[in-house]
């Protein structure tokens, strides 16, 4: 890898005077060489896999994107919260509530509206209920100065209980249609990979781009990072720390709502406890992604890939191993990631601490 870096920078012996200020492209490339290397490796790997078994590869690749969708959105929810200084362990519960409300609203409104508007109403309901749960978490953390882990756990337990209690067996909702780009989806592999997904999958990628820009290039992002690291410093220069935390927890909640609805997008129906630990895996995704939107995207894709592999292996029965063992993969991976990445990960400094201005 060292050799790779050396070739990327111009020759040092000749023309040292010209090396004063490398161009923005070169600087970007040297800073992100590991990322570039990874992307190239993935592309090459996928190419050879495709040569070897095109059908399998296409299925796993498309599955990776599909499985990554809720993790991206939920991971972004965790990121917005922790960047502002509040741990959100209740993502699981927010997703479950959102999936339930989204399902119920869609299911009951589909007769009055048509399926498209009913789905839109469901998505809005999902975002709203999860945002309210986010505000509840913010309220307990800010006003009650409650332990944030406990407050999040309250949301999780409430969500399991409430959704199980009110759930009515046998209801259905219209399928969330895939948005395809005509003719582009025909391209082998690429088409299935990029141009044949439900709207929430595209939304997940848009959310990552949006928050990458806003987190590092807007006033909101600067202030959010400041209140997660040193709220006291932000407070002394007039940043409204508590108000911004409320706002950000609501935004994060809306993202968790999208994550919850994306589960309906792939399952087509609500099931009890259908989040199945994804809200917790999302926290691992956030840590692995080092609290950065692009990092969350990359981490979610890795988890998504193992999920997709896992379901393919279960489906194919390629090995004489009970399928539950394959089902374990994402969780074992979560533990491994937290054990390895967690050592070097540095969360925002003020995360989890109640803030009181002087």
């Amino acid at each position: 890898m060292g050799r790779l870096v050396a070739t990327a920078t111009p020759d040092t012996d000749i023309g040292t005077t010209r090396r004063a200020e490398p161009s923005a492209m070169v600087r970007w490339a040297t800073r992100n060489w590991l990322t570039i290397l990874a992307i190239v490796a993935v592309i090459i790997g996928t190419y050879f896999a495709y040569q070897w078994d095109s059908r399998q590869t296409t299925a796993v690749a498309a599955g990776t994107i599909r499985q990554a969708t809720p993790l991206i959105l939920a991971g972004m929810c965790g990121l917005v919260g922790e960047r502002s200084g509040i741990i959100n362990i209740g993502i699981e519960g927010q997703m479950l509530l959102a999936a339930f409300c989204g399902f119920m609203v869609t299911s009951y409104s589909v007769d009055a509206l048509t399926s498209g508007p009913a789905l839109a109403a469901g998505i809005i309901a999902a975002m709203a209920v999860a945002a309210v749960a986010g505000l509840f978490l913010a309220w307990t953390a800010i006003r009650l100065k409650m332990d944030q882990i406990i407050a999040g756990t309250v949301i999780n337990i409430f969500a399991i209980g409430a959704t199980s209690f009110f759930f009515v067996q046998g209801r259905t909702m219209p399928k969330v249609p895939n948005w395809t780009v005509s003719s582009l989806e025909e391209i082998p592999l690429i088409g299935r990979l990029f141009f044949d997904h439900g709207p929430l999958t595209y939304a997940a990628f848009a959310v990552v781009a949006l928050f990458h820009v806003t987190m590092f290039h807007t006033r909101w992002g600067l202030r959010t990072r400041a209140i997660g690291e040193h709220p006291g410093a932000a407070d002394t220069v007039g940043v409204k720390v508590l108000r911004l935390r409320y706002v950000n927890l609501a935004i994060g909640g809306a993202l968790a709502g999208l994550a919850g609805f994306s589960l309906l997008q792939s399952a087509g129906v609500f099931n009890r406890g259908m989040t199945n630990g994804k809200g917790f895996i999302a926290l691992a995704v956030m840590i692995f992604g080092r609290w950065r939107p692009m990092g969350v995207l990359a981490a979610a894709l890795i988890f998504g890939f193992f999920n997709a592999m896992q379901s393919q292996l279960q489906f194919k029965q390629a090995f004489d191993i009970p399928p539950q063992f394959f089902g374990m993969i994402p969780f074992v991976l979560t533990i491994a990631v937290l054990a390895i990445a967690g050592v070097r990960a540095r969360p925002p400094a003020a995360v989890g601490q109640p803030f009181e201005s002087e």
Binding site: H217, T218, R219, W220, G221, L222, R223, R225, A226, E229, H230, G232, A233, A234, T236, V237, G238, V239, A349, E358
Partner: protein, 551 residues
């Protein structure tokens, strides 16, 4: 300004309270005095002073932190604010900055009466404060930290380039060199402080309050800061400079206001003042209260510290070649301005902090970086921060009494605790050491400061020890308990222990110590005999002023 000579001119800025002859030439003033006198304040001008505080009073439950304090500051002037710990300096500037509201008195800023309802108000008026603990966000860049809260934006987008350009501009204007793109976390403390000052200037501060800004700086960084302050003053910024270090006051300020016990003792021009005259104003002439104690009967040397080097949290060499000896049956008092290596010295001797150079031995056994081992060598330790290092607040008095011996006979046999033995001991010690408590099962955190300290003293001194290390043993303790603790230390000495007493209170040092060692910048600069020296002389050495050979 209780001693303004001419009441008809209340805005007269130069009011020497001490009868200092202006014609008298004083050697210690240094070469920059000429420059300082050149910077004159036009007193005939009718324009009001930048800041004027009259009769500020602030009461906290049980104490009057500030009692009718006056203060005046002109544009382009550097005012030193001096006083011992607890004299009320911090309370005073917190009122000026709007963190506290005065109970009585008025603040005038640029001739207008103001009430600063919080720091935001003060900042908006052009009053800025550089706190001792920096208010910076470590992972953000210099520019981001400076503009935070008042960011240049366009359509919600943060204008990074504009921010960086503006920071560059201000930093060049005032000679405060920083790189706007550096991450604050990567910068040394001196540069971080520059960022704090730039933050104030970016917001258009005309009055800058610095709370012990040099406490965290290396000597070199201090010199740089002082030069910066002079430049800022030349630009018309008024500066209030809080410090313990008299040398810095003489070097950089125009006038000095001294507080003692919450009251303004007076204001004097720096020109003509000396470290001795300032120390006298600060400490006052209160009588030294001596504990009744017989002459020391010293035995063999117990603690021998040779050329000791210890690093502090910031990896700076806080103890840098200190040497001292304490013999059985004597109390060695270590005097010094806080932050000159006291904490590190004590923690190295007790095995809490690693020794990086030189050595410390107790009864010829080398001190190692293992507190338990050192304790077993016969070392008792009364720590500076009793809540953090001396007690477990939620444990009972009884459990705190056996913190170091709970797992040994008679308090435990084969890993099973014997609570009867523990209770017997606790009952006896509470009685003997006069701990005022409803019972031995009370959580120790519910006791008053004095009683908490008595619990520690009881635990540490109830068994004869070879060496007693006592660090600020009476800080924040009521008068009655102070006397008791002092008696216990003398009793330990008379029983044959070597006592190392570290204290910021000169009264305490004078009343207890058989010999006085002065710690300055990590070294023992002199050892003095309390019977022949004076507070002024010790104060001079503490301020780094005494350069004579030790007697």
């Amino acid at each position: 300004m209780a001693e303004v000579s001419d009441p008809s001119e209340p805005t007269e800025p130069i009011e020497p309270t001490e009868p200092i002859e202006s014609t008298e030439s004083i050697d210690s003033d240094g070469p920059d005095m000429a420059e300082k006198t050149a910077r004159s304040f036009d007193t005939s001008d009718s324009s009001p002073p930048l800041l004027e505080a009259k009769g500020l009073t602030k009461r906290f439950p049980g104490v009057v932190a500030n009692d009718s304090v006056d203060l005046t500051l002109h544009e382009g002037e550097i005012l030193g604010l001096l006083g011992e710990n607890g004299a009320g300096k911090s309370t005073l500037v917190k009122m000026l900055f709007g963190i506290h509201q005065p109970d009585e008195g008025e603040i005038y800023f640029r001739g207008e009466r103001v009430t600063n309802d919080g720091p935001g108000d003060a900042i908006a008026r052009g009053i800025a404060m550089v706190h001792q603990h920096f208010q910076l966000v470590p992972p953000l860049t210099v520019a981001e930290n400076i503009v935070l809260g008042a960011e240049p934006t366009s359509g919600g987008f943060f204008q990074r380039r504009a921010a960086e350009a503006r920071v560059k501009e201000i930093s060049e204007q005032y000679g405060l060199t920083v790189n706007p793109r550096d991450i604050v976390d990567d910068l040394p403390v001196g540069i971080q402080q520059r960022v704090e000052i730039l933050k104030a200037l970016y917001r258009g501060a005309r009055l800058l309050i610095l709370d012990e800004p040099t406490a965290v700086l290396t000597p070199q960084e201090t010199d740089e800061l002082l030069a910066i302050l002079r430049d800022l003053a030349a630009d018309g910024v008024g500066i209030i400079f809080i410090t313990h270090k008299l040398r810095e006051v003489l070097e950089v300020t125009d006038r000095v206001t001294v507080l003692r016990g919450g009251k303004g003792v007076g204001t004097s021009t720096t020109k003509g003042a000396t470290t001795a005259s300032l120390a006298e104003m600060m400490v006052g002439r209160s009588v030294v209260f001596r504990v009744e104690k017989p002459e020391a009967e010293t035995g063999d040397v117990v603690l021998r510290v040779q050329d000791l080097k210890v690093r502090d949290q910031r990896r700076q060499m806080a103890v840098d070649g200190a040497s001292l000896e304490v013999a059985a049956g004597e109390i060695l008092g270590v005097a010094g301005v806080e932050g000159n290596g006291q904490r590190e010295l004590v923690e190295a001797i007790t095995g809490i902090r690693p020794i990086v150079g030189g050595s410390a031995t107790v009864l010829d056994q080398r001190v190692v970086h293992k507190p338990r081992t050192v304790r077993d060598m016969g070392v008792a330790y009364i720590p500076e921060d009793r809540e953090r290092d001396g007690l477990v607040g939620t444990y009972s008095i009884a459990d705190n009494m056996v913190l170091a011996s709970y797992n040994r006979p008679p308090f435990a046999t084969r890993g099973v605790r014997d609570f009867d033995q523990v209770d017997d001991l606790a009952e006896r010690l509470v009685e003997e050491f006069d701990v005022r408590t409803p019972g031995i099962d009370v959580a120790v955190q519910t006791l008053s400061g004095g009683n908490k300290q008595k619990v520690i003293v009881a635990r540490e001194l109830s068994v004869p020890k070879a060496l007693v290390v006592a660090s600020q043993p009476t800080r924040g303790v009521d008068v009655g308990s102070i006397e008791f603790i002092h008696e216990q230390l003398v009793a330990a000495r008379d029983a044959g222990a070597a006592v190392l007493l570290v204290s910021a209170e000169l009264d305490e040092i004078f009343s207890l110590a058989d010999r006085i060692a002065v710690l300055y910048e990590g070294r023992i600069v002199t050892t003095l005999d309390p019977n022949t020296t004076t507070r002024e002389e010790v104060g001079l050495f503490m301020a780094g002023g005494g350069e004579r050979a030790p007697h």
